[in-house]
């Protein structure tokens, strides 16, 4: 090494500057089953705790819950049935309503806008009460008396906000299609009806699917509201079971069982919705 010439290794050098590594981006959703497992763990723990609390001579907590399980499952099935029916009715009414909102006739546009906004702004429970109390309990159709049971009235009550939300969904999806599509089709001499049905709406279906599925999940977790107006679904039956057993240590296990049941049904839907959203957004 010669003196006077600095060793290259000793020359002052600006080392590369790295900003502190950003916190690892959190996953968009939790790993698949961990939250269901967490809830199930809560349930299991609560059963254990309740067991510890229950007095001697009383049947085991799990056995009690098992005794009530078939009835509660039936109730839950009614929740699901109500959600399917309300979704079907709401979509069948809401899609045409949404198309009316983009009509060229001002009265049709204004009328459908008003109906949509009215039912979007109404609290679901108030609509449920309204339908339960004010819809007739039977109608005569073509000479026959058709009874309208309570669960059907509440289904209709739930389908009204669904209808309004579907209408908004449809309108939003149509408006999100770039104006160039309308122009190009117009320039090719398509009629307005042809443009809507052959070009715009097919493109809308993909965009509408994730929010539509999201709406279904919201509807499903709203079905226990029908217990407030007297429908015998899972929530009502759980409360009835708790009242009949009259054991305070059953409160947490049974309510958390209900939460777990809904979670198990809804979480896959929300995962699927998020996955679809991602897939359709790439286009």
């Amino acid at each position: 090494m010669r003196r006077g010439v600095p060793n290259r290794a000793e020359l002052p050098v600006l080392l590369p500057f790295r900003l502190a590594a950003p916190a690892e981006r959190p996953p968009a959703f939790a790993p698949s089953l961990s939250w269901g497992l967490a809830l199930a763990a809560v349930f299991a723990l609560s059963v254990g705790a309740a067991e510890a609390q229950s007095g001697a001579g009383q049947p085991a907590i799990l056995a009690t819950i098992w005794k009530w399980a078939p009835l509660l499952a039936q109730g839950f099935a009614l929740n699901i049935a109500i959600s399917f029916l309300a979704m079907a009715i709401g979509t069948a009414l809401g899609a045409p309503l949404g198309l009316c909102q983009i009509s060229l006739l001002p009265p049709v546009r204004a009328g459908s806008w008003f109906v949509t906004q009215f039912f979007r702004n109404s609290p679901w429970l108030v609509l449920l009460f309204y339908c339960m109390l004010l819809l007739p309990f039977e109608v005569s159709v073509a000479g026959h008396i058709v009874p309208i049971p309570g669960w059907l009235k509440s289904t209709i009550g739930l389908s009204l906000p669904v209808m309004a939300n579907v209408s908004e969904l449809v309108r939003g999806a149509v408006r999100s299609i770039p104006y160039g599509q309308w122009e190009a089709a117009d320039a090719l001499a398509f009629s307005r009806r042809q443009i809507l049905w052959m070009i715009i709406l097919p493109q809308c279906v993909k965009r509408m699917t994730p929010p539509w599925m999201n709406l279904y999940a919201i509807l499903t977790v709203a079905t226990p509201l029908t217990s407030v107006v007297g429908v015998s679904e899972a929530m009502t039956l759980t409360r009835d079971a708790l009242a009949s057993e009259a054991r305070s240590e059953l409160l947490v296990p049974m309510y958390s069982l209900l939460l777990v049941a809904f979670f198990v049904y809804c979480y896959p839907i929300s995962r699927a919705t998020a996955a679809l959203e991602k897939r359709f957004a790439v286009k």
């Binding site: 089709a185 001499a189 398509f190 009629s191 070009i199």
Partner: protein
């Protein structure tokens, strides 16, 4: 250039635009535009952004209604409220800057859709014609591709084929290369030039001066809603008279 290098000016013009005014809200976009396009003629409209060029094109095929003045296309008054818009749009084809292909249909379906559903022509015939047109724009083999799988230049050529499928007499091109990468611009310009050489009446809004010089029979320069100057390409590019024109050309060339 149109065939034989000159244009028949003895017949009535195919497109006759007289003193057209158009406002969007409070902004007046066209302030009295007049021009004529003869059959087989190729005109280019150039000018700064906001000068009304795209609006003018859209007025020709009645996508945008005019406030005042008159546009007559092949004897039909476009401003007439009783105008059969569909009949007009079968004669006039339009290609847009953003291609606007229908993303949920393949290239072939895009080209076939309008003749089958609007003109109600036989599907087999239309398919054969569509395949010929796709080959004509040099996209043979890409018929089953979706627009999302094609490059910008390819999509634009499909858009041209789609408009040609309606057998129009007039083609309008609205800055069709503005959204393309420089490499793909040429393939689209070649396609348009071929069309012009085959005798199609074209109105082209473009920023490509070299292309305009080559292809056009007549050039119009618009600024702030009026036609400032116009002329044959040779005189226009070398001997522009109006100072606004000269300033624009000095910025571009």
């Amino acid at each position: 250039m149109s065939p034989a290098g000159h244009v028949l000016r003895t017949q009535a013009p195919l497109i006759h635009i007289a003193d057209v005014h158009k406002s969007f809200g409070k902004t007046e976009v066209l302030k009295g535009v007049s021009l004529d396009v003869a059959k087989g003629e190729v005109i280019c409209v150039i000018g700064p952004s906001g000068s009304g060029k795209s609006t003018l094109l859209r007025c020709i095929n009645a996508l945008v209604p005019i406030d005042r003045g008159s546009i007559v296309v092949d004897g039909q008054e476009v401003n007439d409220p009783r105008l059969d818009k569909l009949k007009l749009r079968r004669k006039v084809g339009m290609v847009f800057q953003q291609y606007n292909l229908f993303p949920h249909k393949t290239a072939l379906q895009n080209v076939m859709m309008a003749p089958v559903h609007v003109l109600k022509q036989d599907a087999k015939e239309v398919e054969a014609r569509a395949r010929r047109l796709i080959a004509k724009v040099r996209l043979e083999g890409k018929e089953e591709f979706y627009p999302g799988e094609l490059s910008g230049g390819q999509q634009q050529r499909v858009a041209i084929a789609r408009s040609l499928a309606m057998n129009p007499e007039i083609m309008l091109f609205d800055e069709v290369t503005a959204a393309l990468d420089p490499e793909t611009v040429k393939e689209v310009l070649v396609t348009i030039r071929e069309l012009a050489e085959e005798g199609m009446t074209c109105a082209i809004v473009t920023h490509e001066m070299g292309f305009a010089r080559e292809v056009a029979d007549h050039i119009y320069f618009t600024d702030r809603g009026v036609i400032v100057e116009h002329g044959a390409p040779k005189e226009f590019f070398t001997g522009a008279k109006d100072p606004r024109t000269r300033q624009f050309l000095s910025q571009i060339l």
